[in-house]
């Protein structure tokens, strides 16, 4: 017993202490989202009254088109994730399985590009898309399709790099067999590779979804209209530094926006942790 105490008590002490540290802000947000007054000030850390007021405000108040924001976020992050993985997996397949001149150089360039922090070129993206807006108002600055295109471009580097890592780990035997049977590269890709890599593609799609969902500054720069905003920009603008006034609805909104992401993240934990060493989502 004494030995157990000496060996394990400090481990549990650290575990409990850091768990409290982790959970504390989240607990606070949850209870303030059910606090009827909706104010930032909490009179006690144990809730006495329970109310859906803040959630009600969030969905009913005309000043907060929350459902539209959620829809925008899901639409943008979903499209970017799906399209970028479709396009990225083709390139990753080619890097991993095909032989061509300049392959080594291509991989090295890709490595450099995926390291480049997109935010550095943000003023250039802004100016370029402003010009695009001049001749094609539907896909330029201030539009969701424009933002989508910029996201797609930005997602390419990381996604191809990540997918290439995964594809490399898929054994070659199957596609070599297909090759011997006379399948072309395109057929091997669609008929052998895609079904085989489906779980991996799904994981990268979800990771890309989380990454896009989390993006703030480009969305802020692009989406000026209230109704085109993503949930991150919408909530941030809504709270507008006035934490004391809009805290309740904000707390409710941030919980609803976070739950799907947390669920995806926890269910993908295994893959994300193994992908961490490959340098993925965030950190």
């Amino acid at each position: 017993m004494k030995k157990w105490l000496r060996e394990n008590s400090w481990r549990h002490a650290i575990g409990i202490f850091i768990c409290l540290f982790s959970i504390f802000p989240l607990y606070l947000v949850v209870i303030s989202s059910f606090n009827p007054s909706g104010s930032l000030q909490l009179t006690s850390f144990i809730p006495k009254v329970f109310s859906w007021n803040n959630y009600h405000t969030l969905f009913k108040s005309p000043a907060i088109p929350y459902l539209t924001w959620m829809k925008n976020s899901l639409y943008i992050a979903g499209s970017v994730a799906l399209i970028s993985v479709m396009i990225g997996s083709a390139a990753a397949f080619a890097f991993s399985r095909l032989n061509f001149t300049g392959k080594k150089l291509g991989i090295q360039l890709l490595l450099l590009v995926q390291m480049f922090p997109a935010i550095l070129a943000i003023s250039a993206v802004y100016v370029i898309m402003e010009r695009v807006h001049n001749f094609a108002p539907d896909i330029g600055l201030g539009t969701q399709p424009g933002l989508l295109l910029v996201y797609l471009g930005g997602a390419m580097g990381v996604n191809i790099w990540l997918l290439k890592g995964f594809v490399d780990s898929i054994p070659m035997e199957l596609d070599e067999a297909a090759k011997i049977d006379g399948a072309s590269a395109v057929q091997t890709f669609w008929l052998i590779f895609v079904p085989l890599a489906a779980p991996v593609l799904a994981v990268v799609t979800l990771m890309s979804f989380i990454g896009t969902f989390n993006e703030y500054i480009l969305a802020r720069l692009f989406l000026v209209n209230m109704d085109t905003r993503t949930v991150a920009v919408g909530l941030q603008q809504f709270i507008g530094g006035q934490y004391s006034q809009n805290w309740g609805p904000f707390a409710a909104g941030s919980i609803i926006a976070s739950v799907p992401i947390v669920i995806i993240f926890l269910s993908l934990q295994k893959y994300i942790v193994s992908g961490l060493t490959a340098g993925s989502v965030k950190g």
Partner: protein, 513 residues
């Protein structure tokens, strides 16, 4: 399935898709040419050719896989990078945004002054024979005329009907604009010059009710490339930096200017101009302190946790699933939540501490808060990678050391830690590079503040290089895209250097040798 992919149906489908995409891109190309956006037009045209060439012939199989990704990468990653470098060579800021041609047109249309007597008319704006026209009334002398940009027709008093203010409201061949037309008419009318009837003079609008007799005061001489005054003999010359300046007083410049190449001036400004250099050095130091501090604190906490949990014990899974929550939350939401918790009046932090600290109004407190919040956000990541690395260290090593009589502390310091650092150093470096540009944290938590508003300084106490750059480009009254781009290029060189160093350590590059 195989036959479908090979068959005619698939071929026709492919043809349709390629055609539709090409047509859309060609239409865009045409629009781009029409708006004189030649660089974009050339890119679009090349994209069409590449797509058609790749998918309709069998010349290159790998290209079939690469083209969509390659085009997107080029359009939205590579070309912005190149464009950033180009912009950094230009005097590109508020007041110098237009092209030279546009700037000249603007100067000409702005160089208008009322005549010496300040003659003005009450007017109605409207349409005459399908072109913009004004109906002008001299209410004192009871004289009226109808003017377009081409002609002037004098009207007698019985040709017009007057409204309550004795201003002519109707006239033959003239229709007053409806209120809805008024809203969209602005540019068409405000820049128009209506015929007055005296050489060199014309009527321009001041609002929608008053017309002023004006004349041109500056004239552009294209063959000499100068602006010459029509009133006195002053001359404005291209100063080589994007403005026309008076020959006798170079600080007297015509507005607007244009974006002109100034080569390395934006870069030399970073080091020589004390107004730029001072804040930049302060921001750079804080960026380094922040990135180092945040990596060290989060790594320390994560490692401590990993060591504590590095043993099968009851509740480990439970701890783990709670510990990972800060990392699983969307970081934007967490940052905003923390910003609320640091609120001076009602925030939970002051509430618990029983203090009344204005966290974000004091630079030192704000910096502490930034590092603290990032500790919360990032420690699970370091916990995860540290526990992974701990498991990768062979247990034989520790056992051998124990047999040799080393105590647990010695084993940790002499064996575990050095090995751990060796395994993790690429990730620590990558994390340093990430935090070097951790824009969201700074921007959403403190907004880079606190800053001294009175001194007009735009760099705040917690601004890191990237948020400072963003403010230079977008966040203040004068947007200086040229200077911001120059700083971006410098940051990129630093970050690329750090990342390449990290990569060399991680030996990823070795696989290509």
């Amino acid at each position: 399935m195989m036959t479908l992919l090979r068959g005619k149906v698939a071929y026709v489908l492919k043809l349709i898709v390629v055609l539709v995409i090409s047509v859309v891109l060609l239409m865009l190309t045409q629009h781009a040419v029409a708006q004189r956006e030649y660089a974009i037009a050339i890119f679009l045209a090349i994209a069409v050719i590449l797509i058609a060439f790749t998918y309709l012939t069998q010349v290159s199989v790998p290209l079939k896989f690469f083209i969509p990704g390659l085009l997107l990468l080029f359009a939205f990653v590579l070309s912005p990078i190149l464009y950033t470098v180009v912009m950094s060579e230009f005097n590109y800021k508020t007041g110098n945004i237009l092209s030279k041609q546009q700037a000249i047109e603007q100067i000409i249309s702005r160089a208008v002054e009322p005549d010496a007597n300040g003659t003005s008319f009450d007017i109605k704006i409207g349409v005459s024979n399908g072109v913009p026209a004004i109906l002008a009334s001299d209410t004192i002398n009871k004289q009226y005329f109808l003017a377009t940009e081409k002609s002037r027709i004098d009207l007698t008093a019985d040709q017009v009907t007057l409204d309550a203010n004795e201003v002519a409201a109707t006239a033959p061949n003239f229709r007053v604009l409806t209120p809805t037309e008024m809203q969209t008419a602005d540019t068409k009318y405000s820049n128009a010059r209506f015929v007055f009837g005296k050489t060199g003079y014309f009527v321009t609008l001041e609002g929608f009710d008053v017309g002023v007799v004006s004349h041109q005061v500056l004239e552009y001489l294209p063959d000499q490339g100068i602006f010459k005054s029509l009133v006195d003999d002053s001359v404005y010359r291209d100063n080589g930096r994007g403005n026309f300046a008076l020959t006798t007083d170079s600080s007297n410049m015509l507005s607007p200017g244009w974006r002109a190449p100034i080569w390395f001036e934006n870069y030399t400004k970073l080091f020589s101009d004390s107004k730029v250099r001072g804040p930049l050095i302060r921001v750079f130091i804080w960026t380094m302190v922040f990135a180092t501090g945040t990596v060290l604190t989060s790594f320390a906490l994560g490692l401590l946790l990993a060591i504590a949990m590095n043993k099968p014990m009851r509740g480990r899974r439970f701890y783990r699933s709670i510990l990972i929550l800060p990392y699983a939350m969307p970081s934007i939401m967490s940052i905003l939540i923390w910003a609320g918790m640091f609120d001076t009046e009602f925030g939970a932090i002051n509430n618990i501490l029983g203090t009344h600290i204005a966290w974000f109004q004091n630079a030192s407190f704000a910096r502490l808060a930034v590092i603290f919040v990032n500790l919360w956000l990032a420690f699970p990541y370091f916990y995860l990678i540290s526990s992974g690395a701990l498991q990768a260290i062979p247990s034989e090593l520790n056992e051998a050391a124990a047999i040799d009589g080393a105590n647990p502390r010695q084993i940790f310091r002499k064996i575990t830690l050095p090995l751990l650092l060796q395994i993790l150093s690429p990730l620590l470096i990558a994390s340093f590079a990430f935090n070097f540009n951790n824009f969201n944290l700074i921007y959403l938590l403190t907004g880079g503040g606190p800053r001294n508003v009175l001194s007009g300084e735009i760099a705040g106490g917690t601004d890191i290089l990237i948020s400072y750059t963003y403010k230079i480009a977008f966040g203040s009254n004068t947007q200086d895209l040229g200077l911001a781009s120059a700083i971006s290029v410098v940051i990129f060189v630093i970050v690329a250097g750090i990342s390449l160093y990290g990569l060399r350590k991680s030996k990823v590059l070795e696989t290509f040798k």
